[in-house]
């Protein structure tokens, strides 16, 4: 028997209705389930087999409607009309069926074989909602399956329906009645449509034409014709086409609910409501939010300390071992000072980053992230930002790269650009190694947490000022009001949080493995060549005539007012490749690993003894401020360039570095005046 072709399945639904959860249940691929709107901006696919058939599943971004208000909605419409899947699973929240069927009404006329998955049947039952699945199936003309995706209930029934439909594919017969004037317009448009250029049914193409969103270029030729119809209908209806059709789709959804759903009033304890009384309280909410952030950072740094010590020890052992195995010379120098020191300096801070991602994942999955955006909106609004802008900023504390990608969840271009421009000031996890190094070297243990917190707060402050200034410069009118769903609080499932942590940490390690290893090797090369004739003296001699030395000295005049010498100059230059590389660069510049001691401690010792750090704590603090603010790493620049234009990217690099210099200068001179 011939192998059946792969059936392509698309999962469509509103945000937070369990799409990703269902996706995981079907494919077994453990992916992240988000709890705030817009977490699945990227397209995820997975493959599974059932009943001798292969299925390829794509998890489409959560969307409230098929329209082009946001990138997510655009992605969904494009996927469903330009490269239609063989089959759609439309997943809906049974406890809020009418609103979810609004989307169903819009996709049902695509004519694709479709299954309606009624998710969260348990929650619906708690709400007193009872759904007659058979009647609903008849009304919609598609199979209906009840699910509890979180508990993996109903997956077998869904697979059965999937198999059945894949064997004998057929779409729904349901046609939505749009009223006489629209129906007349549709009829005329359908006649005029070019034949067989797209698999989308003519009626659907005509509807989308009326909305000004042709499915292909051939249809686009009919836009003026459609527009004339549209203008007439809008004038008569005294409403926009969008609103008019929305009314019709809701009418359909409402009709389904009326005839298939019975609601019995329930007196019950609503945990989300109770929690929201405190967590979104105007004063208490902000305090709780602040406390949450503090707790996150305290947790991240306390728990990571023992792990870091272990990694440090292991690296020192490895260096010593390499020192024994390899003969003294260029090769040993490369392995010990280049590779082990470079990568080691990065891996050492993995525990911090893993814990930070764990905390962020917990905040997202519990539903708290949306509340954070809610309580911050009042403040953010005054800064000319959007409450949702806060989420990319928060992610920015983990890594700037996903944070810039997360700005996509903002609807207007202005908000996106403005948020992306200030996100680099949020101190990312990669900057932490630098702080840890200098704070460890120059500050007493009881002050360390405070100093660190002050750096983070300074970043936020600078971001606020920058947002205010840039917001005034950017076109002000294009401001979209906040409109966001607050998902119910749910206890995050362990594996989803761990999976999120794992994927993000893995991304960091991959970056460390490739980009950062390259940076370390380049640095080693620059610090070693041209080779100086071996002389008696300290380990610094190896670097004394190198390219790094020359470059460091070349930019020294610029950095001198900040109290930095050429060695810091070299470190900062390397930091452009990746901020954490500052540490490994300094290790190489200070020639630390040759001695085989515990590396960070050794570097800290060297720094303390360096004459450049005469005003130790102040210079260290100035340096941390500079590292916080100057050019984000190369990966960020690349992502920024991909999201925005070259002009804005150049601007971003320039203004961050300018700000860094200015603020660092201020910190140093105010510090000197105060007698530090």
């Amino acid at each position: 028997m011939a192998e059946a072709p792969i059936t392509r399945v698309a999962i469509v639904g509103n945000p937070n209705c369990g799409k990703t959860c269902l996706f995981n249940n079907l494919t077994g691929a453990h992916q992240h389930v988000g709890n705030w709107p817009g977490v699945t901006v990227e397209r995820k696919t997975g493959v599974f087999r059932h009943g001798g058939r292969a299925y390829e599943v794509v998890d489409l971004p959560g969307t409230y409607s098929m329209s082009s208000y946001s990138l997510e909605e655009d992605v969904v419409e494009r996927h469903l009309t330009r490269e239609p899947p063989d089959l759609i699973i439309n997943i809906v929240d049974s406890s809020n069926l009418e609103r979810h069927l609004f989307l169903t009404a819009q996709i049902i006329e695509l004519g694709l074989p479709m299954i309606l998955a009624l998710n969260m049947m348990d929650e619906a039952a708690q709400h007193g909602v009872r759904i007659d699945t058979r009647a609903l199936s008849e009304m919609l003309g598609v199979p209906v399956v009840a699910l509890v995706a979180r508990r993996n209930h109903g997956t077998r029934e869904l697979l059965g329906a999937l198999e059945h439909l894949a064997r004998a594919p057929h779409g729904s017969h349901v046609r939505i009645d749009y009223g006489t004037s629209v129906e007349n317009a549709l009829e005329q448009l359908i006649v005029a449509l070019p034949a067989a250029v797209t698999p989308v049914p003519a009626r659907m193409r005509a509807v989308l034409l009326l909305l000004g969103r042709p499915v292909c270029t051939a249809d686009a030729n009919l836009l003026p014709f459609a527009h004339a119809h549209r203008a007439g209908i809008e004038r008569a209806a005294r409403d926009t086409m969008d609103n008019y059709l929305a009314g019709r789709w809701y009418g359909f959804a409402n009709g389904c609910v009326r005839s298939c759903v019975t609601q019995t009033p329930q007196l019950r304890f609503d945990l989300t409501e109770k929690l929201d009384n405190y967590l979104t309280h105007p004063v208490l909410g902000l305090l709780i939010f602040g406390a949450c952030m503090w707790l996150v950072f305290e947790l991240v740094f306390t728990l990571s300390a023992p792990c870091i010590a272990v990694i440090e020890l292991a690296l020192a052992q490895l260096s010593a071992l390499a020192g024994h195995l390899l003969p003294a010379g260029l090769a040993r120098d490369l392995v010990v000072n280049g590779i082990i020191a470079g990568v080691g300096g990065v891996i050492m801070f993995l525990p911090n980053i893993v814990l930070l991602f764990l905390a962020i994942g917990f905040l997202e999955d519990s539903g708290y992230m949306a509340r954070a955006a809610f309580v911050m909106d009042g403040i953010m609004h005054r800064l000319g930002l959007h409450g949702k802008s806060f989420i990319p900023m928060l992610i920015g504390f983990g890594c700037t790269v996903p944070a810039i990608m997360a700005t996509r969840m903002l609807d207007s271009k202005r908000d996106r650009l403005l948020t992306a421009l200030i996100v680099p000031f949020m101190s990312c996890g990669a900057r932490l190694p630098v702080y840890a190094l200098f704070i460890g070297a120059f500050f007493a243990p009881r002050w360390q947490a405070t100093v660190l917190l002050s750096i983070y707060l300074l970043g936020i402050l600078i971001a606020i000022v920058a947002a205010n200034i840039l917001g005034r410069l950017l076109y002000r009118k294009d401001f979209t009001p906040l409109l966001m769903e607050l998902p119910p609080y749910r206890l995050p499932t362990g594996h989803s949080v761990l999976m999120l942590m794992w994927t993000r940490a893995w991304m960091y390690v991959r970056k460390a493995g490739t980009l950062l290893l390259c940076a370390a090797l380049v640095m080693w090369f620059l610090c070693t060549f041209p080779r100086a004739t071996p002389q008696a003296g300290g380990p610094n001699t190896a670097v004394a005539h190198s390219y790094a030395d020359r470059f460091g000295r070349a930019i020294e005049p610029v950095l001198r007012p900040l109290g930095f010498d050429w060695k810091i100059g070299v470190g900062l230059t390397t930091g452009i490749v990746a901020k954490e590389a500052v540490v490994s660069a300094l290790m190489i510049v200070y020639g630390v690993t040759e001695t085989g001691e515990r590396t960070t401690t050794a570097l800290q010792q060297r720094l303390r003894n360096d004459a450049a750090f005469a005003h130790g704590p102040l210079t260290a603090y100035t340096l941390m401020v500079f590292v916080l603010l100057y050019v984000p790493c190369i990966a960020t620049v690349v992502v920024f360039l991909r999201e925005f234009k070259l002009g804005w990217t150049v601007f971003m690099v320039g203004y961050t570095t300018g700000t860094a210099w200015l603020v660092a200068w201020l910190v140093r001179h105010v510090g000197l005046l105060l007698g530090f």
């Binding site: 809020n96 008569a236 929305a246 906040l482 409109l483 769903e485 607050l486």
Partner: protein, 215 residues
């Protein structure tokens, strides 16, 4: 009404209405040339008609002077104007045709309807106006307090956000419960089983009808 004489013809009513309208701009009445321009006819025809209207004692007119409505003429003209207004409102506000169509159709229909029909139409519109007032008995969402509930009656100021709100379940006719509304934070609503946060600027545009108990 003109009980003793024959009622004015369709054309005559048009003339009276036009003179009334032009008189509103000039207290001494309308000029023949103005009337001719407004009705798009030649001045000699206007003079001819004015002579006839004067014979019916609806207007006064001396050569090279302005045409003025008599008391009876004024009453007849106001009567036509009232019918015109009622019909225009009916077409525009109830049947929802464009203002232009409403205007032209009202011009045509105002002369031919039975007085009984007109009276019923007037009652109907008065009733509709009362509804309109009732509809305006709403408050912006931002003025509601935590725990208040009501029904969204309209979304003011443009259609830009209506479809977006609708997609999130916030539509005209939706029952809403205010969960949070304080300070500069967005308003948090419960709509159906979903919670939605709406920025204050947008929330002001949402007009909510609250039950009497709230005041």
């Amino acid at each position: 009404m003109t009980a003793t004489t024959t009622p004015p013809s369709t054309t005559q009513e048009d003339y009276l209405e036009t003179i009334l309208r032009l008189s509103a701009e000039h207290p001494d009445g309308a000029q023949v040339s103005e009337v001719a321009a407004a009705l798009d006819v030649k001045p000699p025809s206007v003079v001819e008609m004015i002579t006839r209207l004067r014979a019916m004692e609806l207007v006064t007119h001396a050569p090279r002077e302005r045409v003025q409505l008599t008391a009876r003429g004024l009453q007849a003209a106001q009567d036509v104007h009232a019918r015109h207004t009622i019909l225009r409102r009916f077409f525009a506000d109830i049947l929802r045709v464009t203002p232009e169509i409403a205007e032209t159709d009202a011009c045509k229909v105002e002369h031919i309807l039975h007085p009984e029909t007109m009276a019923r139409l007037r009652d109907f519109l008065e009733h509709a106006a009362a509804d309109e007032l009732e509809r305006d008995h709403t408050v912006p969402l931002t003025l509601l307090h935590k725990g208040d509930c009501g029904v969204l009656k309209r979304i003011a100021g443009g259609h830009g956000k209506t479809a977006r709100l609708a997609a999130m379940g916030v539509r005209v006719g939706s029952e809403i419960l205010v969960l949070q509304n304080s300070g500069a934070a967005p308003v948090m609503l419960k709509v159906g089983h979903a919670r939605v946060a709406i920025g204050r600027g947008l929330a002001t545009a949402l007009h909510i009808a609250v039950p009497e108990a709230h005041g």
